[in-house]
């Protein structure tokens, strides 16, 4: 390997050579002025930083942010409380208590079973999207909303009322 090292050192174009500096390199100044030129050129280029609260980054429609529980065309809750999302969740962020729909509320649900309690702890959630994949009823989706700011932990445990959207629509396919 020693002979190899020497051969490498002698080749002036070898980027790995580090022992023999040329005279220009020994003088510091050319390297520094070249470096300064790079910095200066950046000085006049378009700025890439973003002034965050005023300017917001655009995220794609696939973004995994705040969850939403969907309703169908008739405004009924799609979620049937099957607890598959709870099972799929690696962070145990979802708590569901399922129950039978009382007769007077039957028009609000698609089946006799529904989630009496549906709580999602936004601080536990890791936004992996596995609940969305697991749901067999097209009920839960992750949306591109990403700004969660509250002044207490309790406020970030979202209940069913906070998660369910107000109006419904046809089945939403997220590609």
């Amino acid at each position: 390997m020693a002979a190899d090292t020497v051969a490498k050192k002698k080749n002036p174009n070898d980027p790995f050579r580090k022992y023999d500096l040329t005279l220009a390199e020994k003088l510091y100044l050319p390297a520094i002025s070249k470096g300064m030129a790079v910095t200066l050129s950046h000085f006049f280029q378009k700025k890439v930083t973003m002034q965050y609260p005023e300017e917001k980054p655009e995220v794609s429609h696939r973004w995994r942010g705040r969850h939403v529980l969907k309703r169908d065309e008739y405004g009924r809750e799609r979620c049937v409380g099957c607890q598959m999302c709870e099972l799929a969740c690696p962070a145990d962020a979802i708590t569901i208590q399922a129950g039978e729909v009382p007769p007077e509320r039957r028009h609000l649900h698609t089946t006799e079973r529904y989630a009496v309690i549906y709580e999602l702890d936004m601080l536990r959630c890791i936004y992996c999207g596995l609940c969305e994949e697991a749901c067999p009823e097209a009920a839960i989706y992750l949306t591109p909303f990403y700004e969660f700011v509250e002044d207490s932990r309790e406020k970030l445990i979202y209940t069913k009322e906070m998660l369910t959207e107000k109006t419904g629509g046809p089945i939403f396919y997220k590609d």
Binding site: T5, Y19, A91
Partner: protein
């Protein structure tokens, strides 16, 4: 008992004072440390006489946790290992699980994995070399690198919907179809990388201050590196041409044409150069893969392992049954054990998985490259200066999240 300990401590202190040595804690949380490492060093002036490394400040028991997770859920914890290049870990785990299940994925999936792995290699090396510059006193290059990194995150965002914790890929394929402009986006991004690298070369590579700061700092011989179990760029910097991509090609790496750069002395400068050269090679691989990206499905034809499409789940009885079966019953590989290694940006990242036929891995071990680098810190730092110690740790690219799992 306690008295003995205290006495010993006092005696040690006295001995230290006689030798005029000074005890210093580099870390666990020190502004110059990259991650939560603790290094207790004994210094004589500026020179480190002895070093004692401690780990365990960032331990999150991933291996135990994964014994309670399904094969899909384990993917989410691999994100959090080397958080600088999370997709590389995802790919490694998915490949291990696929090997256990004996799944052959389509060429398209393999190519996309190669592209993502190489992109992650580039962004990992960008951070590593950028930080090395910062530690050597050159802050500017780091910011220019950050810009390139930021741009690739928009690709990640469009592809999987997250920037850092990607959760990319599923056992048997990709997590979802590719978005249409994927190949163009990748090619556009990779086009600017040589320019960014050239700028960085201008700023640092032949700058005498940087060279003198880095050359012959904490060198390691090839033999010692192998003894410690080095892999990846740090081993190649010591002059051993070992790369899992060539030695044991996975995910169609044999289709691509690239070279393995090697250094000679294994010092900080060689590690830096190897990383810089590797990025150029990665650019080559990405261009080849993105230009020849085959058409085809985004997953293998394994209905009992890969979740069916949502459209089918709501309309087709068979798909519905498979959907329920996979979620409720889990993916159940046959009994057996498997080791799958990939060339992660940091070195050989291995997954050793034992299955007992259940829905969770019976035992899962991550072979993380940093762990092996970090063992050698004590030897490397002995006799060097404090300022060099920081350079050494950042050039080894030890990442606390990966080191301690």
């Amino acid at each position: 008992m306690l008295k003995q300990v205290i006495d010993k401590e006092i005696a040690d202190q006295q001995q230290l004072q006689e030798q005029e040595l000074y005890d210093l804690n580099l870390g666990p949380s020190h502004p110059a440390m990259h991650g939560i490492f603790e290094n207790r060093v004994k210094i004589d002036g500026e020179r480190i006489i002895e070093c004692e490394s401690h780990i365990g400040y960032c331990h999150r028991s991933f291996e135990k946790l994964s014994e309670h997770y399904s094969y899909t859920q384990v993917n989410t914890i691999t994100d959090r290992m080397n958080y600088v290049s999370s997709m590389a870990n995802n790919i490694g785990w998915i490949l291990a699980a696929e090997k256990l299940l004996g799944i052959e994925v389509p060429k398209k999936v393999q190519y996309v994995r190669v592209i993502m792995l190489e992109i992650n290699r580039i962004i990992d090396h960008l951070i590593c070399n950028g930080i090395l510059g910062v530690d050597a006193g050159a802050y500017t290059g780091f910011l220019y690198f950050m810009e390139a990194r930021e741009k690739v995150y928009t690709i990640f965002d469009k592809m999987v919907g997250a920037r850092l914790t990607t959760n990319f890929g599923r056992v048997g394929g990709l997590d979802r179809p590719l978005y249409p402009e994927f190949a163009d986006d990748v090619l556009n991004w990779v086009k600017v990388i040589p320019k960014v690298l050239k700028e960085f070369h201008t700023l640092l590579t032949r700058n005498r201050i940087f060279i003198e700061r880095c050359r012959d700092i904490t060198p390691i011989s090839a033999e010692r590196a192998l003894d410690y179990g080095y892999t990846g760029p740090n081993l190649r910097a010591a002059g051993v041409e070992y790369d899992v991509r060539k030695a044991d090609p996975f995910s169609s790496y044999e289709d691509f044409d690239f070279e393995i750069p090697t250094g000679t002395t294994g010092d900080v400068y060689d590690r830096y150069m190897v990383r810089m050269e590797e990025m150029e090679q990665s650019v080559k691989i990405i261009e080849q893969a993105a230009k020849n990206l085959p058409d085809g499905p985004h997953h293998a034809d394994v209905p009992e392992i890969y979740l069916p499409e949502k459209k089918d789940v709501y309309s087709n009885m068979e798909a519905m049954i498979y959907h329920f079966k996979i979620i409720m019953h889990g993916i159940r590989p046959p009994k057996g054990e498997v080791y799958q290694a990939i060339e992660a940006p940091n070195g050989e990242l291995g997954f050793y998985c034992v299955s007992d036929g259940g829905p969770n891995p019976y035992r899962l071990h991550f072979r993380s490259p940093c762990f092996y680098y970090y063992q050698s810190i004590e030897e490397l730092l002995r006799g060097s200066l404090i300022a060099d110690a920081v350079l050494c740790i950042s050039s080894l690219n030890a990442i606390a999240g990966e080191l301690e799992r």
